[in-house]
Amino acid sequence: MVPLWMYLVVAAALFCLGVFTVLARRNAVAILMGVELMLNAVNINLVAFWRFVTPATMMGQAFVVFVFVVAAAEAAVGLALIIAIYRRRQSVVADDANLLKW
């Protein structure tokens, strides 16, 4: 049986990739993808822990479902915002949207 920590390591790797993407990519959409990656990494962890630690209760899976919901919502709003920004400023580069500063 594949030990738990392998799953965790893979999830961590995926998470770090997600983090890197979010922090490094210039394109807002790419950032969103990064976020999706991170959420998936979390899902892996959740399911892994559910499977290894508490298979009886459905908490892990329920949590994952809710993560899906949130991810979907987040993606929807995120993209809507990006499109709105793009429409107004003709640029989706995260750096350009820097008006909210002093």
């Binding site: 490094a24 995260a94 750096d95 949207a97 008006l99 909210l100 500063k101 002093w102």
Partner: protein, 741 residues
């Protein structure tokens, strides 16, 4: 309430009416001439009445028990000077009583006289105000029971004399004279005040009776060495000297007499008041009052003299002679009298110096009376001359006669027919002054002094000062007689030398009716009264042993002598009657008069003729007469010695150097220093405070600028930072966990 009949209270009231009158006149009545004269006369007569009442009481003639040895006195608390309480009060003792006889009399006569004299003067109300104040001050001085109240009266009189001398202030010489009088008396008064203060410091009180009647104190005072001149003089001596100097200034003795002749600038009643009734006599009165103090530690009768007595004797005698000499050479009618006053006061001072204070008092009284008479009559003469001047001027409107000096005797002459009443009064006064034997008061008082002088000096052992005094006084008496007769001759004898003299005396030249006398009734009344007194006053002090008159007038000893000695604690030894001094005084008086008559009366001067004395003296030395006339250049001397240096001091030293140099310098320096300090502060301020003040905000601004970059608007930057911090915190927590785990 005040018990009018109680003798103790009466003295309080004597000085009050004139003071009130002066206040009223000044404040309320200075517009109406009638009211002014009314209040002034009423006040003086009222005070005269009261003083007469006191006098009679004192003499025991009325109002119950006679004074005897005691004195009325009552005191009230006046000032609370810290530890000691200062009382002032009134004191009536035989000396005061005597003064109360002479002073009010003279003052009232002068008041009445001045009503006539000042009738048509534009500022006559003001004049009466001052006169009333003057009278009040004199009376306060007389009744005062302590030295301070006396000094207050003294000062007020000084002020009144200044204002009265300078009454016609539009005349340059008048107000200069006023200032001169005021300054010289002030010098003396300051020294006197020092004496008073020193006395007060020693005695703790200034009350006459407290000081002069406790002998231990006087002895102790005499023994303690004086503060300043320590060894040479005792405390009492020093105080005495100071007081004497005060009197010298006040009574115009030698060094400080220069103000008296100039005081003639004032209207005649003033000069009368000053030289006769009040001012000068005050000084002598004060010395008599202070006699025990001055004589402390000395017994003139036994040849023991101390500093004050010596001072008085020499100064008095010398002044008498000196003034007499100058008087001979004077041509102004009032100036002659002024110098005669100075010499007469010299007589009194000398008498006091040798211990004959009773004789001095007697002479004081008599002199007061006939000198007042002389001044008022001279006033009348001047009045007449003014009328003459007017008429002469009116008649000879054509050619302008040179305006003559109405007061110059050389422009007078032959006025005995024109103003007969004045002529008789003037004669009486003159003879009294000259000391015409037997019938005039002057003779008796002067004789008394000479007798005393003889007895103490020549008669007995040849004591130093007494002899010196006797000789000088004798010569002075001769000269007095001489210049008096000269004056009489020049003024009244011979023919009128000028047109003014021609018309003098008559209001209306056409019909010389006595009614239209130039001199109004007001003026002539007092003259006659005083003339009478001038004659009879002398009989009060006749020596009992005097051959004929003694028995008549003084059956039980010299009445005046008995009466006055009551004031002093110890009894003054009576002087035995001695023919020699009386004979000398006879000789001197008659000799002087004869001489004067010979020179001036028999061959009256023609208009413009040189004064024979001058001619005589010129033969001796041309400069002598002019020197005498110019008062031995004393004025110039003083002027040079004091006035000019004072002016120099004031305008050069003080103004330029002190004021401008130092004070301004200091101020400028301070100002400059302030600006410099201000400047440095400004620079400091700009550098430090501004530096700090601006530094902080700009620092913050810079920090703000830098800090702003932190919020770059880059979402990813925030995320990175968040992650970093999370990591760090995680690490820390983890390490802690590991640590604990």
């Amino acid at each position: 309430m005040i018990d009018w009949t109680n003798a103790n209270f009466l003295p309080w009231l004597i000085p009050v009416p004139p003071l009130i009158a002066s206040a009223l006149i000044f404040l309320l009545f200075n517009r109406s001439w009638f009211l002014t004269t009314l209040t002034a006369l009423a006040a003086t007569i009222l005070s005269w009445g009261m003083s007469l009442a006191v006098l009679l009481r004192a003499l025991g003639l009325a109002f119950g028990d006679p004074l005897g040895g005691s004195a009325f006195s009552s005191q009230i608390a006046w000032m609370d000077t810290g530890t000691t309480q200062f009382n002032i009060g009134v004191l009536v003792d035989p000396l005061t009583a005597v003064m109360l006889f002479m002073v009010p009399l003279a003052i009232s006569m002068i008041m009445i006289y001045s009503v006539g004299y000042m009738a048509n003067d534009p500022r006559r109300e003001r004049f009466f105000g001052y006169m009333a104040l003057f009278a009040g001050a004199m009376l306060t001085l007389v009744v005062a029971d302590n030295l301070l109240l006396l000094f207050i009266g003294w000062e007020v009189m000084g002020f009144c004399s200044y204002s009265l001398i300078g009454f016609w202030f539009e005349k340059e010489s008048a107000h200069k004279a006023g200032v001169k009088a005021f300054m010289t008396t002030r010098v003396a008064d300051v020294i006197m005040l020092i004496g008073i203060v020193y006395l007060f410091a020693q005695a703790g009180t200034l009350n006459f009776r407290d000081i002069f009647f406790n002998h231990e104190f006087l002895a102790e005072l005499a023994s303690t060495p004086a503060l300043i001149f320590g060894g040479a003089i005792s405390a009492a001596g020093l105080i005495g000297v100071f007081l004497v100097i005060g009197t010298v200034g006040k009574s115009a003795q030698f060094p400080l007499h220069v103000w008296l002749p100039d005081a003639m600038e004032g209207p005649t009643p003033v000069s009368a008041m000053i030289h006769a009734a009040a001012m000068v006599s005050a000084g002598i009165y004060m010395i008599i009052r202070m006699y025990p103090l001055l004589a402390a530690g000395a017994d003139p009768h036994h040849g023991i003299y101390n500093a004050p007595l010596m001072l008085m004797a020499y100064v008095g005698a010398f002044t008498a002679l000196f003034a007499a000499i100058i008087a001979v050479a004077q041509n102004d009618i009032k100036r002659i009298l002024a110098y005669s006053t100075i010499s007469q006061l010299g007589f009194m001072m000398a008498a006091l110096g040798i211990g004959a204070y009773v004789a001095a008092a007697f002479h004081l009284i008599t002199h007061g009376i006939f000198k007042a008479l002389l001044f008022m009559s001279s006033g009348a003469v001047i009045h007449a001359m003014e009328h003459g001047e007017h008429h002469a001027h009116a008649e000879h409107h054509g050619e302008h006669a040179a305006p003559i000096d109405v007061q110059d005797i050389r422009s007078m002459g032959g006025l005995r027919q024109r103003i007969p009443v004045t002529w008789w009064a003037f004669l009486a006064g003159g003879m009294a002054l000259a000391g015409f034997p037997l019938i005039t008061a002057g003779f008796w008082s002067k004789d008394e002094i000479l007798a005393e002088a003889w007895h103490l000096g020549v008669g007995g052992e040849w004591f130093g000062p007494a002899v010196f005094v006797f000789i000088l006084l004798a010569v002075a008496a001769f000269l007095t007689a001489f210049y008096t007769t000269r004056q009489l001759a020049m003024v009244f004898g011979g023919q009128p030398r000028t047109a003014a003299a021609e018309h003098a005396g008559f209001v209306d030249p056409e019909h010389p009716t006595p009614a239209a006398q130039a001199i109004s009734g007001f003026m002539q009344g007092p003259l006659l009264v005083l003339a009478v007194f001038a004659v009879i006053a002398g009989f009060v002090g006749v020596h009992p042993d005097f051959p004929l008159l003694g028995a008549i007038f003084s059956p039980y000893g010299n009445p005046f002598h008995n009466f006055v000695t009551g004031t002093l604690a110890e009894e003054m030894p009576k002087v035995a009657f001695n023919w020699l001094p009386v004979l000398i005084s006879f000789l001197v008086a008659l000799g002087g008069i004869w001489a004067g008559w010979m020179v001036y009366w028999r061959r009256p001067l023609a208009a413009g003729q040189e004064d024979p004395t001058k001619v005589a003296l010129d033969r001796v030395s041309p400069a002598l007469y002019t020197a005498m006339q110019r008062k031995f250049y004393l004025d110039e001397l003083y002027n040079a010695a004091f006035v000019r240096p004072a002016q120099w001091i004031s305008d050069v030293l003080v103004a330029q150097i002190v004021d401008r140099g130092i004070i301004d310098g200091v101020l400028h320096f301070i100002a400059r220093a302030a600006t410099v300090i201000g400047e440095t502060f400004k620079r400091f301020n700009r550098v430090v405070i501004d530096g700090v003040g601006d530094g902080i905000p700009s620092g913050i601004a810079r920090f703000g600028g830098w800090f702003r970059q932190l919020q770059s608007g880059q979402v990813q930057q925030y995320l990175l930072m968040a992650l970093l911090s999370a990591l760090v915190i995680g690490m820390v927590v983890f390490v802690r966990l590991i640590g604990r785990g």
